[in-house]
Symmetry: C2
Subunit: 344 residues, 2 copies
DNA sequence: TTGTATGCGTTATCAC
DNA sequence: GTGATAACGCATACAA
């Protein structure tokens, strides 16, 4: 028998289809014995209910979409992995979707909601400049995970979020450098037009320098190159190469992601510089690679695992118990490694 | 209007549902004008057809599943990204599924086929020890991508594959080391029980040593640790640390993946050794990280992009034109970088 | 070229 | 506690 249906099972068991359906879906009003019998037959016949039909009937699929900008970043990979596990635990399906840089994540979400009848959406990464009006049309609960820079104009009651305090953590990184005697600190960040985490972490950079009475040198604020992949090692490499060529003096670099930091290190090393003897480099995220790099990368670590799990937990709370939206902020952690040194 | 259906569109256009359906699905026998009119109405109303209903009718979803063992490996991430693009181009959906190490990929495939009515399956990575009998029950065309070690007992007409010649490429790596004067060459590979690429690349290792009249030293054949994630940096690190502690002499390491190679490098560096002055290290895969590591990692590069695209191309050929299964073998490429040196 | 009617496999609403 | 039956939204055979 090629494709079994619920009818086949019903016939094999000598019962009606609705009884089989009840057995499958753990309905209360069914005789335990007949249920057991049915379940056994199902097991022996390797029958699997057709998801399309279920979803059609139920009018919504048990599916959560995760929309990612920038999947190649290992920081997201590990989050996605954990989210998938959690979603599977709830017997839901994870629909993974990449958003190209030029695409509008909410437009994609709209289409996906209608196509797949989603129950919830996770927006992962990318920047998030949307209007309240457009977001309010999103009929499905959604959560912004590790996304900073959400405009204040958007009503916080309409969505959940999980993130670190990017201003504070950016401050933490640069403050650390300052306390170690660095005064000429370069940063690699997003272009000004970007309202995302880059802007917030840069704000932390400003604040820290100001608190330490250090003047801002605009020539040390480097932005990623638009023609290269964002947050990539290659981007960090090129930006740092140009910075070195500019002859602008500096003793440390704060890169807003570990991948950028690694690219920066490689550029410094290729130029014959030593880390941390000549330059200190600090990153952001806490990806595994940073531990194994040579030198290992000092960084602000985000608690990925907990953040991913909390993301799904909040989302399901909102979906199932219809609770209010929540906004959880995790603390980052300064992980001291080999790429930084005190120059006091 | 909350959820539009094809009926709503039909009513709005003053036509029957089948006409709308024809317009949506590019059917030939429809008046171009009415079609244009319908499409305009659809566009204005942001109606999106319900996928579940379509799939139910069509009795198979336009979906391809990609089953991955080891998603955290960046080597797979980039392949998946390209595959998704290609699959989307064909207007199909990509269903991504991770296989845990203890799971049987074919069992998972069975369930998925019935649940989702898949049109095709890509098995990505992992090892593949299956019986002909079980595989023949897989009703859907499938392709093994970058998977070596497929038993000869399985009829090659029942599946497609895309890979490199792992024996040959393993040989290429070790032969290169030998030609550069290395005689005591360690390798980090999979445990013996594993019939996968690890075994094949190890075979290449044996062959190369034999051809260069070098005796095999079993103490230099290191296997990944079972309690750590396979192919991970951490694993490479621990294995290399133990190798160093064993005091067994060697001058080079051939790691069967770049991540293992990076872990190995870090262990050597942490032990105060220099690369490549004291030890040469060569990896396998050609991931981007290898370029940026310090030192950059000499490796056997697999042409990921082409392999991913070819995977999807072959799969769709088999699905759509019902062509015969194909087996494509790509050549690897030795990428010479900083982590190896001649000691002649 | 177009509209009507049927069924895809499932769940929910009834009767029994 | 159980079984028939009507939807769910769409594609398609068939009639017009």
């Amino acid at each position: 028998m090629d494709q079994m249906t619920i009818k086949d099972i019903a016939r094999m068991c000598g019962v009606g289809v609705s009884t089989v359906s009840r057995a499958i879906n753990n309905h209360p009003d069914i005789n335990e014995e007949t249920k057991a019998m049915i379940m056994k037959v199902i097991k022996d016949s390797d029958y699997v209910p057709n998801n399309s039909a279920r979803n059609l009937k139920r009018s919504d699929a048990k599916a959560i979409a995760v929309l990612v900008k920038g999947i190649t970043n290992p920081f997201f990979s590990s989050m996605i992995k954990i989210m998938e596990e959690e979603i599977q635990k709830k017997k839901y399906t994870l629909v993974l979707h990449h958003i190209e840089p030029y695409e509008d994540e909410v437009d994609v979400a709209f289409t996906l909601i209608k196509e797949k009848r989603l129950r919830g959406i996770v927006f992962l990464g990318g920047f998030f400049t949307q209007t309240e009006e457009k977001l309010s049309k999103l009929q499905v609960p959604f959560i912004l995970s590790t996304i900073g820079g959400i405009p204040e104009t958007i009503n916080k009651k309409t969505y959940s979020s999980v993130s670190v305090d990017d201003v504070k953590e950016g401050y933490r990184a640069v403050d650390f450098l300052c306390k170690n005697g660095h005064k000429k600190i370069a940063t690699i960040t997003t272009p000004k037009s970007d309202q995302s985490i880059g802007k917030l972490r840069l704000e932390g950079y400003y604040k820290a320098l100001t608190d330490h009475h250090i003047d801002i040198n605009p020539n040390l604020i480097c932005t990623m190159k638009g023609n290269l992949e964002e947050y990539s090692m290659q981007n960090g490499y090129e930006v740092t190469r140009e910075l070195l060529e500019s002859k602008e003096e500096f003793t440390a670099i704060f890169a807003i992601s570990d991948l950028l930091a690694i690219g920066a290190c490689k550029a410094l090393l290729d130029a014959g510089k030593r880390i941390p003897e000549d330059y200190s480099v600090i990153g952001f995220d806490g990806i595994e690679m940073g531990r194994f790099y040579n030198p290992s990368i000092t960084t602000i670590k985000q608690p990925v695992d907990e953040m991913a799990m909390e993301t799904i937990r909040i989302l399901f709370d909102v979906i199932k118990q219809n609770t209010k939206h929540r906004h959880k902020i995790f603390p980052g952690e300064l992980v001291l490694r080999q790429s930084t040194k005190s120059i006091k």
